[in-house]
Structure formats: structure tokens, C-alpha cells
Amino acid sequence: MSHVSDVNPLLDVRDLVVRHGTRTVVDHVSFDISPGETLGLIGPSGCGKSSTAMAVLQLRRPDSGEVWFDGQELTAMDERRLRPLRQTMQPVFQDPYGSLSPRHRIRDAIAEPLHVQGSWDRTTGPARVAELLERVGLDPTHGDRRPHELSGGQCQRAGIARALACEPKLLILDEPVSALDPSLRAGILNLLAELQERLGLGYLFICHDRALVRHFCDRVAEMRDGRLSSS
């Protein structure tokens, strides 16, 4: 079932299993993603796509299986050892408002990964935030606003800027445009394509829109009832 590809995949997931109680929601799923590659994960709602994403991110620990990322196995690591690695693999969630604290300004939300990392520098930090805002196509003045003062598309761009602040190698895009107005989707997708080209990011692109996935992804894996049916 798993796709045999380049010698050194960025992400290599082997026999991933996630159970909720007695129900197996992710059933022996294997796939890999190379740098600069986009793997589309498609399937009906409730088939285990988002559970797969959470398990790959180690936000919900898988029940069995291995997740190799950049040459390291993540599932066996304890939280303390995992924490420094987390920033290299960033999620972008479906709800554009969901990934940002409603209480914080956009500027502070984008700077937060740098604070957490301990790499915040008072002299260069603000410039870095401004650069990130510009890179995702936001106006510098947007930095002073709070999430509910932005549109859904602007919020999603802010979420991407925050992810980029971590300098990731892989983005897990969990339906990044499904909650957005169709007119805004193209803008976000173009932004993602451009970022991938410039930074060589790997993408796991989760979606339920077949046409969109065909258009946007290098390879497509289809999920049904927790299993991958083709790749």
C-alpha cells in the first residue's frame, strides 16, 4: 500500500493506528512525503483524515505504528524530547480563527513561536514579523488587529505566517480552504504553491474536494473507513 519513493523521504509514516475507545479510526496507514512534494489525502468526512493528521503531528499519540520525520522516529519520543522538534512540522487548521488565540494580536501570535523557541531578538524580531506578514500577503497594519477583526482569508494567511515563523520543513494542511469563501480559495492556494517553490516545503494536503486535490497535489492517497485504498 505504501508508496515507494525517493531514498530520503521527509516524512515516512508506517502502519499508523489510532483508536478512539474500541473503534479503529486510522487502520494501518502508511505513506511518505519528500521535500517539496505535496501528498493529497482525500476521503469522505469521518474517514480518519484529521485523526491521521493529529497522529502525525503527535498532538494525539498514535496507538501503534511509526512516524519517521527527517530521520527521527517520533512516536517513541517523550514530550520533552519532542518539543524542540515540533516547530519543524506545522499544522494549518480548517477553522481560520481556530488556530489563533482570540485574545492576542496577530503580531504577537506570529511572534509567539519565536518566544517559545527562545530565539526572539528585540532588535530583529519586529522586522521578522513584518517580513512574514508581507510574505503571506498581509498588510503590516493587520498585525495590530485581533483575529475577529480580520476576514477568514486574512486569518488563514496569519495562521500560515505563524506556521512559517517556525521555519518548518513540512506543513500539515487540514482542509485549509474548505471554510473559506470560494473567491478567497485561489489566493490561499497560490500562496501555498509559491511558498512551496521558494522554501522547498513538503505538504500533506487534506481535503474532500477531488478536483482541487487533483489540481494541487503531486500524488493522491484516498482514505475510506480508516484505510488507504490507493496511492
Binding site: 512540522m89 481556530g98 488556530s99
Partner: protein, 621 residues
């Protein structure tokens, strides 16, 4: 063994963990009652000796003999064991003061109190009907805000006013004793009006939203009579409110203490208070136990009625009321009330509350004494101002302690839910009696008693908010950037919980001040000559015929405070609704959780057991 196994199994679900906490809290309360003689720490032997045989010299041997007699020599565990096994055999112990059996006095008091409460319930139902009827007839609107404020008056204040107007000025009805049915009228009014007002307001606030539901339109279109629609709407409104009706009944037991004291009714509440003051602990244990049982039976009855009304719908937890729309007074009302109160306090603070002028006793209001003087010739205005400072200051301290406790315990939702149920079932007066019996009456004891029962609603609110924040996706995003749990707690969870809970605590301040005043009124709080509002009212009762203004001043001040408490509570509810609208936390069930905030914003006795419990369930995710 099977029981233990079943309990252990049940403990795994969060709902029943709250149930276990509830059992634990109840056991703790019972143990506190049982351990009172040991907890009080002071040597009761001297009290007993004085009471039983005043002429006997207090020699060490005599005291030792009494200690032996009372069973105080043994440790706390055997004391508790003896008390519990005595209870099981129907032996409530022997009064320390009179040396007679406790049980007959408790039963006699209980009979009087039960008939008083029955009459009060009748009054309450009449008042409630009077409040609900106009809403049903007009099919919209709600009981006026004036009604809301009138019924917010605490029982001890209403009792004093009823005594003043009905008994003294008009002279229609007897004001003290318990000889014939006419003696029941004033106490039943004082006890029933606040309870009925509360019941009526709960129903009247919930009705308009129900009457706007689709089915009403449909029924009207089908030609169903107004009367049948009204009956169906009432039937729809009642079940979710029944637990709160149970709270009202619990409130009656607390209110009964004050009312019985004012009208010298020989009921169980007055027995308990008298026993607490004379350190007659066995009698106190018996009567507090009776009061607690009354409250618990009322709660159990309410649960039973709710089950009968709802049937299987209860299991599905599918039947919830649309959000109530409490009447909100014009913003000018709380502002004006606050301004009046602050002016009086400010003016009074500039004067001396302790200066005794025996030549100017019981003077009517004049320029020299704007609110007159009391029985010792002290300035009423000055005492009012200084009293506010101490009452509100203590209330603020209680608020702060409750807030800190609530924030700490908010992270344990099942503890918060269970303890808030028990705290709701304990009227502050009864807790005050227990604390006063253990630690002696005083400001500290009163503050402790009020603090003991004021933190759980705040903790339930905090727990709901913590769960809401924890369930939202932005916390996933925090973990994804490698933030430590400490970072997430201090930067995200605490800030989003602290602000709303702190606001809630501040809005409860007037209610807490009233509870403190009611303890002061009963002599369980601040001691003379301290100027405390409840105490002022109590002291002025003695010469109320000659100097009504001395009683009226603290009474009006307390009424204004009650009005402030009600009008602020309505604003708190709007606040909670507004927060739900703007804070996009991304949690699908966020709307439902704000309903908790809603429920816990109500005043302590209204706080809904059911709705808090329901919304504290695990998030659906």
C-alpha cells in the same frame, strides 16, 4: 463488596465522579456536625457547670467529672463514632444546658417550623402566580424589574419591615409568639414573599422565549385555546426549573432562622441559633441535622418531581429551555442606587460612629444628625457609613478568597460540580451557625462561613471556561509550536479564564455583603459596638416603636444593596452572552458552555444545579 465495585466502576465517568464528590462533601458536612464538640476547641465544661449548678465551685475535679460525663476525654474519632451510633439508635444526645433529651425539643421545633414553611410555601405560590399571570396574558414581556428588586430583599429585612408595618404601626397582627393561626401570618409573609418572588421571576423570565417557539404559532393557527397553550407553555417551562425550586426550598430553611428570631417563633431555626449562642452543642447538632435533612429532602423531592415531569427525556438530556431573558433595569438604575449608597457611605465616613451622646438619645433626623441617633445617642449616619466600609471590605476579602479558590479548583471540573451542588444546598445562615459554634461568633467566623459557600459557583464557572479553552483548536496550535504546558497555562488558559470569573466575583459582591449582614443580624458576625449593617438593624429592633428611623436607615441601605445585586446580576448575564458572540474559540459546543456561565451568574440560591452539571460534561470532541 458489590457496592464498592459498582462505586469504583461508576467513578470512571465524569458525571458520577461529581456524584462521588457530592457524597464526599455531604460526609464532610455531617462529620463537621458530629465533631462540633471537638472542633470548638474551647472547654465547654465551664459553660455546662454554670448552666447546671451555678452555686458549685469550678474546681478541677468538678470540671473533670463533667468532661467525663460529656465524653470529651476521648479522641475525635470515638466522639464521631458515638454520635453516629447514637443517631442510628434514635438517640440525639442530651442537652448540655438543660440536661434533657435533645430529640423532643428538635421534634417540637420541627413541627412549628414545618407548619410555618407550609404557610410560607402557600404565600410563595400566590406571589409566583401573581408574577406569572400577566406574562401569560400578555404573551410577552416579563415580571417588572421593580418586582425583581422587591423580591431580592433578604428575609431578615423583610421580617423586620413586616414587624414594623403590620405589627407596630398598624397593630393588626401579633408580632411575637406562636399561639394561634393569626401568629403565622406575618412570619409566613416575610418568608414566603422572597421565595415566591424568586419562583415567579424564574418562570416569568423563561416564559416569553418559550411562547415565541414555533409550536405556539402552530397551535394558535390550529385554533387551540389560549388557556390550553398557556398550560402547555407552563408544562414546558417547569421541568428545567424544578431543581431551582428545590434551591428555593433550601433557602426557606435558612430564611426561617432569621424570621423565627424576629417573630420569636419557637421553631427549629431559633432553637439552632439559641443552642449555638449558649454553646449547647448536642442541641445544636440535633437541630442543624434537622435543618439539613429538611433541605436535602426538599432537593430530593425536586429531583423526583423533575423525573416524573420529564420521563425518558431526562436521559437524553435533550430538553433544554431557550435562553431566559431576564428583565434588565435601565442602566441608570444600578448607577443611581450605587450613587445613593456611595453618598451615604462617604458622608457617614466623615463622622464618628462610636461617639456616645446620652443627652441626644433616639433623636429624630435633623441637621445635626441627618439620620437621627440610636439608643445610646450615636449618629446613625456615621454608623451606617462605617458599617458599609467594614461590611463591604469583608465582602471584598471573601470575594477575593473565593476567586482564588475557584481559579485553583476550576481545573478539577468534577470537584467543582459536586461541591457546588452541596454548597447550593447549604444556606449561609446554617453554615454561619456551624462556624460560630466551632469558632465563636465574630467577623472572621462570618467571613469564613460565607466564603465556604461562595466559592463553588465561581469554581463551576471557572471549570466550564477551562474546559472550553482546553477544547479549542488554538491550544493544539500552541502545542504544535512546542509550547510547554506551563507556557500554555500562564499565557493562554489562565488569562482567558481569570477575567470573566473575576467579573463574576465582583458582581457577587453585594450578595456576599447581604449574607454577611444577615449573619451580623443574627449575632453570628461582627460583635457590638462594631457598626455592621445587620447588627445595626438588630440593635434598633429593641426601640423600633420610639425611633423607627434608626431601624429604617439600615433597612433602606440593605434594600438598596439588594437592588444593586439584582440589577448587576442581569448585566452579568448579558455580559456572558456577549462574550459568547465575540470570542471565536472555534469550539462547536462553545455556545452551550456559555449557558453555564449564565447559570452561575445568578444569585447563589438561584444557581441551577442541573444546568451546571449538564454543561460540565466532557467536550464532545
Amino acid at each position: 463488596m458489590t457496592l464498592v465495585a459498582r462505586l469504583l466502576k461508576a467513578a470512571r465517568t465524569p458525571g458520577s465522579r461529581a456524584g462521588l464528590t457530592r457524597l464526599g462533601c455531604l460526609a464532610a458536612v455531617l462529620a463537621t456536625v458530629g465533631l462540633l464538640p471537638w472542633l470548638s476547641g474551647r472547654d465547654p465544661a465551664l459553660t455546662v457547670l454554670r448552666a447546671r449548678s451555678a452555686e458549685q465551685e469550678a474546681t478541677e475535679e468538678a470540671l473533670d467529672a463533667i468532661r467525663e460525663d460529656l465524653g470529651l476525654g476521648a479522641g475525635p474519632l470515638s466522639l464521631l463514632g458515638n454520635w453516629a451510633s447514637g443517631l442510628l439508635r434514635g438517640d440525639f444526645g442530651t442537652s448540655w444546658v438543660s440536661g434533657t433529651d435533645v430529640l423532643p425539643s428538635v421534634v417540637a421545633g420541627l413541627q412549628v417550623s414545618l407548619s410555618l414553611m407550609g404557610a410560607a410555601l402557600g404565600v410563595a405560590l400566590l406571589v409566583a402566580c401573581a408574577l406569572v399571570a400577566p406574562v401569560l396574558v400578555r404573551a410577552r414581556g416579563s415580571a417588572g424589574s421593580l418586582a425583581a428588586m422587591l423580591v431580592a430583599l433578604p428575609e431578615f429585612l423583610l421580617a423586620t419591615l413586616a414587624l414594623l408595618v403590620g405589627g407596630v404601626w398598624l397593630g393588626w397582627l401579633p408580632t411575637s409568639g406562636w399561639v394561634g393561626p393569626q401568629y403565622m401570618v406575618l412570619p409566613a409573609l416575610a418568608l414566603g414573599i422572597p421565595a415566591g418572588g424568586l419562583l415567579g421571576r424564574l418562570v416569568a423570565d423563561a416564559l416569553p422565549a418559550v411562547l415565541e417557539e414555533r409550536w405556539v404559532e402552530l397551535w394558535r393557527g390550529a385554533g387551540v385555546s389560549q388557556a390550553r397553550i398557556s398550560a402547555a407553555a407552563l408544562r414546558r417551562v417547569l421541568p428545567p426549573l424544578v431543581p431551582q425550586f428545590g434551591m428555593v426550598a433550601v433557602g426557606l430553611t435558612g430564611g426561617a432562622v432569621a424570621v423565627e428570631v424576629v417573630f420569636a417563633v419557637p421553631g427549629i431555626g431559633r432553637t439552632a441559633l439559641g443552642a449555638a449562642k449558649s454553646q449547647d452543642l448536642p442541641l445544636l447538632q440535633g437541630s442543624v441535622l434537622a435543618l439539613l435533612t429538611l433541605g436535602l429532602v426538599a432537593g430530593a423531592l425536586a429531583a423526583l418531581v423533575r423525573r416524573r415531569l420529564l420521563g425518558p427525556a431526562l436521559r437524553d438530556a435533550g430538553l433544554t429551555l431557550p435562553a431566559a431573558r431576564p428583565v434588565r433595569a435601565h442602566p441608570a438604575v444600578p448607577v443611581a442606587l450605587g450613587a445613593v449608597l456611595l453618598t451615604c457611605i462617604g458622608w457617614g465616613l466623615l463622622r464618628d460612629p462610636y461617639a456616645v451622646d446620652t443627652t441626644a438619645r433616639l433623636q429624630a433626623p435633623s441637621w445635626a444628625y441627618p439620620l437621627g441617633t440610636d439608643g445610646l445617642g450615636r449618629d446613625v449616619l456615621a454608623r451606617l457609613g462605617h458599617g458599609a466600609a467594614s461590611t463591604v471590605g469583608t465582602a471584598a476579602a471573601v470575594c477575593l478568597v473565593s476567586l482564588l479558590l475557584a481559579l485553583a479548583l476550576g481545573f478539577l471540573p468534577s470537584v467543582a460540580a459536586g461541591s457546588s451542588d452541596i454548597a447550593n444546598a447549604l444556606p449561609p445562615v446554617i453554615v454561619g451557625i456551624l462556624v460560630a459554634a466551632a469558632a465563636g461568633p465574630g467577623t472572621g467566623g462570618a467571613a469564613l462561613a460565607v466564603a465556604l459557600i461562595s466559592w463553588p459557583p465561581l469554581a463551576a464557572h471557572a471549570a466550564a471556561l477551562v474546559q472550553e479553552v482546553r477544547a479549542s483548536t488554538f491550544l493544539h496550535a500552541q502545542r504544535a509550536i512546542g509550547a510547554t504546558p506551563f507556557w500554555i497555562l500562564t499565557r493562554h488558559v489562565l488569562p482567558s479564564v481569570t477575567a470573566p470569573v473575576a467579573r463574576h466575583a465582583i458582581l457577587r459582591l453585594p450578595g456576599i455583603a447581604l449574607a454577611l449582614a444577615s449573619l451580623g443580624f443574627l449575632g453570628l458576625g461582627a460583635q457590638p459596638p462594631a457598626p455592621e449593617w445587620g447588627l445595626l438593624l438588630d440593635e434598633s429592633r429593641a426601640y423600633v416603636e420610639r425611633a423607627p428611623w434608626a431601624a429604617l436607615a439600615p433597612a433602606v441601605a440593605l434594600a438598596v444593596m439588594a437592588g444593586l445585586a439584582v440589577s448587576l446580576a442581569a448585566y452579568a448575564e448579558r455580559d456572558a452572552g456577549g462574550a459568547g458572540g465575540t470570542a471565536r474559540t472555534g469550539s462547536a459546543s462553545g455556545r452551550g458552555r456559555f449557558a453555564v456561565a449564565f447559570a452561575s451568574f445568578r444569585s447563589p440560591k438561584e444557581s441551577a444545579q442541573g444546568s451546571v452539571k449538564e454543561s460540565l460534561k466532557e467536550p464532545v470532541r
